[in-house]
Each structure stands twice: as structure tokens, then as C-alpha cells.
């Protein structure tokens, strides 16, 4: 029985001002509708243009569950194409990344396509003469995603025509990208090191909410970060604090630390923790880096860039970035109870290698399938995914520091332990779930 399809009211009723119905996490029909509506009406992160530096370079990924290719066209523009042959549906590429040369060629019947997706050639083409082929879907080639935006190297796409344009959708939240890019003395990032892929048996939104959940680290991570501090205390006096301990220790900072660090929310479900300081504020200086930044930007501007230590910036629906350590996490939905987490790392072009070394250490200590911090979190997500099947209470609470006068879709700065950003995400969730449900779909 269909409970939510063609029932906008039922979808709206899943979200109340300060609580959320469990079906947003566990119901397969809701998940399917998320793929059809939410992930098609929002600007979803595809990849970074440094992954495809040369004409013909491509990178295969998904938007929601839709297989796409991000490709560098011959004119150097970045295109996003649906990854299927218009003929029989064959996936054009199966390697995650590569170079297509001047054109893509389907391995099944050798139809070929320019790197903007347009049909180049079909063997024995005269077989299509006088068949009306020109009017077919197939004649259009590999279908492009029409709405693509490259923001300082970060490529986003929107599958449907509905919904706001890129600038309107992200607005001031783009400042977190700016800060990450500006941390390179030449204002340039490159994907580097390799991506860590971590499978989670939970809904993708649990991961997104966790990014601005500042009341869990001192509890859930006591086992990892707390133990790290205990073990470190036994080191002989005078031993230099290792980079790894600098990374682990702040996770178990007291509640006051997280309250004071602040949360900023933006319209359309975006927001970030760490307005004033964050767990990334007190890392040791990397030799030579500050001098390079001063040379590039002048002292005042360099201090301004490096003084911004935003913790986690969430871009609705499923991207989180960490500017101060050049790392992003993409929460790829696979099913209501299955999420693939990709953690990507970046090199600040023209900055000392030690920054990338720290970024990679952070990534493997915190985001790898072997990470003890990861184990702490996954345990909580998976317990929730099971616990939500309790019928006696079907609601998840997001009420912390809620005020009834709270307005949706505004920019605000507030106490770092609020759950306002979670409420902000769910306001956007309803908006983009229902935007194309009223028959206005493109």
C-alpha cells in the first residue's frame, strides 16, 4: 500500500516543528520519494574539477541513485552526463575515472559521443535512414544533466528544472568553500591522497545530523578520544604531543566548549558548527605555511583566513566540508538503511606537504572503516536504525534550544549545542520533497 506517494500532506506531516517521524529514516517509500524529488530538486555535489584536469577526463559517480559522469569537454568546460548509452542502456564507463580521448564509445555497438554527450557516430548509420530516428531519445546522445555549476572547483548538479538557482540555493553558505580554497596561497585545491569509502547500515540523514550534533562527542567518543588522552598522559614528561593526539583529544572537550563555539544556520538547510572556534583551532602551526600565506595575501588577510576555524559545514542535502583541514564527506544514500560515506581529501596547492599529511592522518583516524571514532558513531547510528522500529514512540526529538518564534529559512548565529540546524535541515527536507510533487515537475 502506498502511504506517501501522491500524498503531499502525508509527507508534510512527517516533520513537526521540533520532532520528526521515524518514517523519514526507515520507510523505503519515503526513501524512493527522496530519490525522485529531494535529490532531483536540490544542488547535489558531484565532484571536484581537479579530478578531471584534461579534455576527455571523466569521473563516474551518482546523484541520489542516478549514475552520472562528470567530464571535461574539449572546450575545458565541465559537463555532467547520465552514464548510459541512449541505445540499449549500457553503462558507458565502469572504471571510476579515466580519459575517454576525443569521444566516448559504447563497448556494445560502438555508438560514439562527444564529451558533451552529443551523438557523434553510429556504425552502419544508413540503417536508421527514413526511420524517424532524428525524433528519438537516442538521437540526442548521452543525456546531459542540464543544471551544472562549478564553484571554485566544486561541481554541483541539479537534475530537475524546479528549485532555486545555484547562488540562491547556497547563498552565504558558500563562504565555507571560500575559506577552504583561500587557505591555499594560490587559491587552488586539488583532490589528493585517495578517497576513503565506509559503508553504514543506517539512513543517510543520521550522518548529516551527526555533523552538527555537538552533544554527542564527549559521550560517544569517550571510548576513543578519552582513551587517547589517558594513554598520552602516560608518556614521559616533555614528550612532544603527537599530531594524532592533537586530532583525537578535542573530541572530548566539555559541553561549554561546544556551547561557546556556536552554530550558524543559513536558508535552504545549510549550516555550520564552529562560529567562534572549533576542535580544529588549536593544531600546531605547520612550518613555513604562515609565511607563504602572508606573502600571498598580506598579514591581515592571511590572519583573517586562518583565524576562521569552522568545524563542520553542512550543505543540504548530503555534503559536509571541513575547511581548516581540507576534507569533505559525502553521504551517498543507497537505501533507507544503507549509506556509503566517501571522505575526500585535498591538497592546498603551493602549501607545505605537511598540511596534506595532517589531512590524511585526520581522515584515517576519524573517517576510515578502521577508525575507532567511526566505530563509536556507527554503533549509535545502527542502534537508532533498529530502535526506530519501536511502535510505542514513532518520533525523533530535535527540540534542544527550540523557540516557538523560530523562523524558517533565515541566517542566524546561536548557541553551539542547539538542534536548530537539524530543524533547519528538516524544514528544507519538506520543501524539496514536495516542490515537484504538485504536478509542477520538470
Amino acid at each position: 500500500m502506498s502511504r506517501y506517494r501522491d500524498n503531499v500532506e502525508a509527507v508534510r506531516n512527517l516533520v513537526r516543528p521540533a520532532e520528526v517521524h521515524r518514517d523519514v529514516y526507515i520507510d523505503e517509500e519515503v526513501f524512493q520519494l527522496e530519490m525522485e524529488h529531494l535529490y532531483a530538486s536540490t544542488w547535489v555535489y558531484v565532484g571536484h574539477d581537479s579530478q578531471i584536469p584534461n579534455p576527455g577526463d571523466y569521473y563516474g559517480t551518482t546523484i541520489g541513485l542516478q549514475p552520472v559522469l562528470m567530464v571535461r569537454h574539449t572546450d575545458m568546460t565541465v559537463h555532467v552526463l547520465y552514464n548510459r548509452c541512449p541505445h540499449k542502456g549500457t553503462r558507458i564507463t565502469t572504471e571510476t575515472c579515466g580519459n575517454a580521448g576525443k569521444f566516448f564509445r559504447c563497448p556494445y555497438h560502438a555508438w560514439s559521443f562527444k564529451t558533451d554527450g552529443s551523438l557523434l557516430a553510429i556504425p552502419l548509420r544508413k540503417g536508421y535512414e527514413n526511420t524517424g530516428f532524428e525524433e528519438s531519445h537516442a538521437a540526442r546522445g548521452m543525456a546531459p544533466v542540464r543544471h551544472v555549476h562549478n564553484y571554485r572547483g566544486f561541481v554541483f548538479a541539479k537534475l530537475k528544472d524546479v528549485g532555486p538557482g545555484f547562488e540562491e540555493f547556497f547563498g552565504e553558505s558558500l563562504s565555507s568553500f571560500d575559506n577552504m580554497v583561500d587557505r591555499s596561497p594560490v587559491g587552488k585545491l586539488e583532490v589528493a591522497g585517495g578517497v576513503l569509502r565506509y559503508m553504514h547500515n543506517c539512513n543517510w540523514k543520521m550522518l548529516v545530523e551527526n555533523q552538527t550534533d555537538t552533544c554527542h562527542p564527549m559521550v560517544a567518543h569517550e571510548s576513543s578520544a578519552g582513551t587517547a588522552i589517558d594513554v598520552w598522559k602516560k608518556a614521559p614528561p616533555g614528550t612532544k604531543k603527537p599530531m594524532a593526539v592533537e586530532i583525537y583529544a578535542p573530541f572530548v572537550s566539555p559541553y561549554e566548549f561546544f556551547e561557546q563555539m556556536g552554530i550558524r544556520i543559513w536558508p535552504n538547510g545549510h549550516g555550520h558548527t564552529g562560529v567562534h572556534h572549533s576542535i580544529h583551532s588549536d593544531y600546531s602551526a605547520i612550518p613555513g605555511y604562515f609565511d607563504k600565506m602572508i606573502a600571498a595575501y598580506g598579514e591581515e588577510r592571511a590572519k583573517q583566513i586562518l583565524g576562521e576555524n569552522r568545524h563542520n559545514t553542512c550543505y543540504f542535502p548530503n555534503l559536509m566540508i571541513k575547511g581548516p583541514i581540507q576534507l569533505i564527506r559525502l553521504f551517498k544514500p543507497l537505501a533507507a538503511n544503507k549509506t556509503l560515506v566517501e571522505s575526500w581529501t585535498f591538497r592546498l596547492v603551493d602549501a607545505p606537504d605537511m598540511l596534506l599529511e595532517r589531512t590524511l592522518m585526520y581522515n584515517r583516524l576519524i573517517n576510515a572503516p578502521t577508525s575507532v571514532v567511526g566505530h563509536d558513531d556507527v554503533e549509535m547510528y545502527e542502534r537508532a536504525q533498529e530502535g526506530l522500529h519501536v511502535d510505542a514512540n514513532q518520533w525523533v526529538n530535535v527540540q534542544r534550544l527550540y523557540r516557538s518564534e523560530e523562523k524558517p529559512d533565515i541566517t542566524a548565529e546561536t548557541n553551539g549545542t542547539t538542534e536548530w540546524q537539524m530543524r533547519n535541515q528538516f524544514h528544507a527536507w519538506v520543501k524539496y520533497m514536495t516542490l515537484s510533487m504538485d504536478g509542477q515537475a520538470a
Binding site: R364, A368, P369, E379
Partner: protein, 160 residues
């Protein structure tokens, strides 16, 4: 022992796996030299550990944190505890450099990790770089190359 025989190298590698299977983690840690490293590369044939990501790259301090965490009362991801099981091929002695006090073995293996009803099977090659310190063999580097190192894994909570 100043110059280990091949059989002593082989016995060492097999005993190391047994200590893990029996959750004798403190004894296992003692097998590492003070500057010993446990490394699980991310890439096939990876050579660089510094500017290329790894699944794990840990010195004795970080390994000690893991071992202590496994004992913790608030280590919720270990309630109930994971268990593991190694099946090793006979380790092959690839290198004996007595002058440099360095011995390298290569061991194909299957590794099983379980928790609750879940059981995961991994296939890997373990490369041990061993050395003799105060008459005892110690691990300078244990490198574990998973056959499918770039795959999307769930939790790997113990040691391969």
C-alpha cells in the same frame, strides 16, 4: 637468539595471529619494536604512506590506544565484543639480511571478523618486517594488503 632460523621467523608470524585470535592484545603489542608500525595501505601496490591515504597507519602509541579502548567499559561498539579468526598460508621468508638485522616474511591469509550475527571475510597478504632486539624477534613493520583494499567496508574493529 641472535640469528633467527627460517622456522623461528615462521613460528613468530603464526604465533602473532594466534595472540590476536585469542584477544591477547597486550602480549600482541609487546611483539612490536618501540618504533614498530602497523600499516594497511589503501591502494594496490602502494609505496607511499605519507601523502597517500591508508586504511591504517599506526605507531605503538596509536595501537596502544586501540588496545586500551577495546577494554573500556564505555566502548559501546564492543558490546558485544568482536571476534576474529586468521587462516594463514605458511609464511614464506622473502629476505634475510643478517648484517642489517632485518628479516621479511610474506603470508597470504584469510581473516574473519564477527560481531552479533554478522561475519565478514577478508583476503589479504601480510608482510612482516622483523628484527631481533635483545635476543627476541620484534615487528618493525606489519603491512596488510587487502585484496580489495579500495572496496567500501563496514567496521573493521580488530587487527588483521
Amino acid at each position: 637468539m641472535s640469528l633467527p632460523t627460517d622456522q623461528q621467523l615462521i613460528d613468530f608470524v603464526i604465533r602473532e595471529a594466534r595472540l590476536l585470535d585469542q584477544h591477547r592484545f597486550d602480549e600482541w603489542l609487546d611483539l612490536f619494536a618501540e618504533d614498530g608500525i602497523y600499516w594497511m595501505p589503501l591502494e594496490w601496490g602502494q609505496t607511499d604512506a605519507r601523502l597517500t591515504a591508508s586504511l591504517m597507519r599506526e605507531d605503538k602509541l596509536l595501537l596502544t590506544i586501540r588496545v586500551e579502548r577495546l577494554k573500556g567499559n564505555r566502548t559501546f561498539s564492543q558490546k558485544p565484543k568482536s571476534r576474529c579468526h586468521h587462516v594463514l598460508q605458511t609464511p614464506q621468508v622473502d629476505k634475510r639480511d643478517e648484517a642489517a638485522n632485518e628479516y621479511v616474511t610474506w603470508t597470504p591469509m584469510h581473516y574473519v571478523e564477527t560481531r552479533y550475527d554478522d561475519q565478514q571475510l577478508y583476503a589479504a597478504w601480510a608482510t612482516h618486517t622483523l628484527t631481533v632486539i635483545d635476543g627476541k624477534l620484534k615487528i618493525r613493520l606489519k603491512r596488510v594488503d587487502l585484496v580489495n583494499s579500495e572496496a567500501a567496508f563496514g567496521n573493521i574493529q580488530l587487527f588483521m
